[in-house]
Symmetry: C2
Subunit: 379 residues, 2 copies
């Protein structure tokens, strides 16, 4: 079975090869990626924060290693599969940030037994029991965080009382090690207005601090308080409760994050590095050209793709079914030619990466490498 990588791999190193890719293709600007990684690492170093970036954004051991080289203390994963793939590539300090279905507990314990460095989170007594039994069975000690709900309403313990109860259960279990707490404020990452984000973060951070205080009072002080994201990390850093940051989207940005103000009004320390490249396949209409990238190439939960290169200024992108898009413009159909390459900023980076098998890594106009989206998929 031939995959797209085989067809494009011969282009690596050729001048202008970025524009000879078979499309649709996921294109990663290596220079911009490196700048984003360095900027985040520098922020963390300045504030003495730890970074445990989230692998669910990139699903790539290549990128995990770049983050590790820049000083990250580990890598977050959102699924068993991501943890498996990253562990197989030697990535350490893995933290699965979502409570898993209890039937996955034995598989986690077996991975740890095989040498993987994986921690997990829990938010219910039944899951503590499942991990405890699995770890005992596998003959390992499993590192466990208590997942706290600090406003997102998704996973996490519903109160300080339950958090203390779970921390105590973990602490008292011979096959479990109490590692700390997780307080991820996913609901605040995309609050566009900086002042409003600061106000809401202050409120939810006080809730988080109150739970931490209750744990300290119960003689269960968390070693690590992990959380944060691209949208809030700088405010979290100022607030001071969170000590370890699960930032992910800063690597790529996307249309959604472009509107989130970082730091001072309008300041944005990170830059877009991830694009979908598509080709024009039909020019028979007077005010739009049809492309080969549709619902199977873009994450459709967010805003439409933003055209950044290859189309007339002001042109817009819309979906035309599973395999097609349309570039709308004012004027005649002489504007674009069959085969023209157009690059769009991805609407929402995490699910968009998940649609592709490969990153086409470029520096300027040259394809320099192809990296698999190795942890793509489910379970």
């Amino acid at each position: 079975m031939l995959a797209a990588t085989a067809l494009n791999s011969q282009l690596i190193g050729q001048v202008n090869s970025r524009w000879k890719l078979l499309t649709p293709a996921l294109v990663l600007d290596f220079d911009a990626l490196e700048r984003n990684i360095a900027t985040m690492a520098s922020w963390a170093m300045d504030g003495q924060h730890n970074l445990r970036p989230h692998g669910k954004s990139h699903k790539s051991p290549h990128i995990a290693k770049l983050q590790s080289q820049a000083g990250a203390v580990g890598l977050c994963c959102a699924s068993l599969r991501e943890a498996e793939v990253m562990a197989a590539e030697g990535i350490e300090g893995l933290l699965i940030t979502t409570p898993l279905a209890p039937d996955k507990a034995p598989l986690i314990a077996n991975l740890v037994h095989a040498g993987a460095d994986i921690s997990v989170v829990v938010d219910h007594v039944d899951l503590v029991a499942a991990y405890g039994a699995a770890a005992e069975q596998a003959g390992v000690v499993l590192s466990v965080f208590v997942d706290l709900d600090v406003g997102l309403g998704r996973t996490g313990t519903p109160s300080a009382r339950v958090a203390v109860e779970l921390a105590g259960l973990i602490n008292g279990h011979p096959a479990l090690q109490y590692a700390g707490v997780q307080g991820y404020m996913g609901h605040l990452q995309h609050v566009d207005d900086h002042a409003q984000r600061r106000e809401r973060l202050g409120r939810d951070s006080r809730d988080l601090q109150n739970i931490v205080d209750a744990l300290v009072k119960a003689n269960l002080p968390p070693d690590i308080i992990t959380g944060g994201g691209t949208g809030t990390h700088r405010l979290d850093g100022e607030y001071g409760t969170i000590g370890e940051f699960q930032v992910g989207s800063y690597l790529f940005l996307d249309v959604q994050y472009l509107t989130v103000q970082q730091g001072k009004l309008g300041e944005q320390p990170y830059e877009p590095s991830l694009f979908i490249q598509t080709s024009v396949v039909n020019i028979n209409h007077s005010d739009y050209a049809v492309t080969d990238a549709g619902l199977k190439s873009f994450a459709t939960d967010g805003p439409p793709p933003l055209i950044v290169q290859g189309a007339p200024k002001g042109a817009t992108y819309r979906y035309m079914g599973d395999e097609h898009g349309a570039i709308g413009f004012k004027g005649s159909n002489d504007i674009m030619a069959l085969g023209d390459k157009v690059e769009c900023l991805v609407p929402h980076c995490d699910p968009n990466v998940n649609l592709f098998d490969y990153y086409h890594v470029v520096r300027g106009d040259t394809l320099v490498d192809i990296w698999p989206v190795a942890a793509r998929g489910n379970s």
Copy 2:
């Protein structure tokens, strides 16, 4: 690298194994799939229609072979990659139904040279030239259809005049063979109301017939008129212009197609066969449970997933980010337990299949096989 198949493959043949899958998982009801294939084959046989089902829905050589065994004359593909994968598995009569970017022409010609049985479509003189040059270079004769725009406004020739021009160019080119025309009415597949669909189909079918008449008059009668889809095939069959049907979604149905009336009011000859199975991972809320299937497990361009099994009657599904969903219900959180398995009908089958690497094929409650979504991905 361990993939989900390795973990679930040991369950094949075990009683009740459908409910032991690691989730999120794409589940295919083999009995329902077989009934759908048989029903469509029987309709085609009764009306002496040919079937060239669309592989973009399933991307699976396993399913392509089942369709072939039921009498299909070939298989449609939406991409170079799909054609490559299907050809490598020995599937014949492949038709790539979308005009490709011209830089893919040499790859198509090379596949034909290597023995693949692939036809293509064109809707522009430049693409005829690209295919002609590539076929000449590869020393093959490439079979080419003229793609007609009969109301969809996506690809296809804009007029009968251009259709005649392209058919003449193909017919006169030594390395190309004029195979017929394609008139796909994608814009009518989801017109829910049967009477309205019939009226609009009548209008666009007359346009198609007029182009065919112009080709006949120009001494370029199309051997094959290919088109149709799950939503219109029965009306197309009555109308009589289209002779070869590119039906795809009938295999699975989905939430979108459930509302499309087939034949008499409310009659639906096909049945849902494709589901996403997810597990409950959080029960800390009073009126919803959180699951492990979110934006990375569902096609989000359509309606929300429809819960069919495993949750209280009347429960609804909503997305809670990349990896999570929420099952909303009235009542207390005693209704669901951690690890409960819930199955949802997919919102839109084609892009939803594309998110997964494997079909988990079940008969009743037993996992009987695991099939790769072999042509998943892009290019």
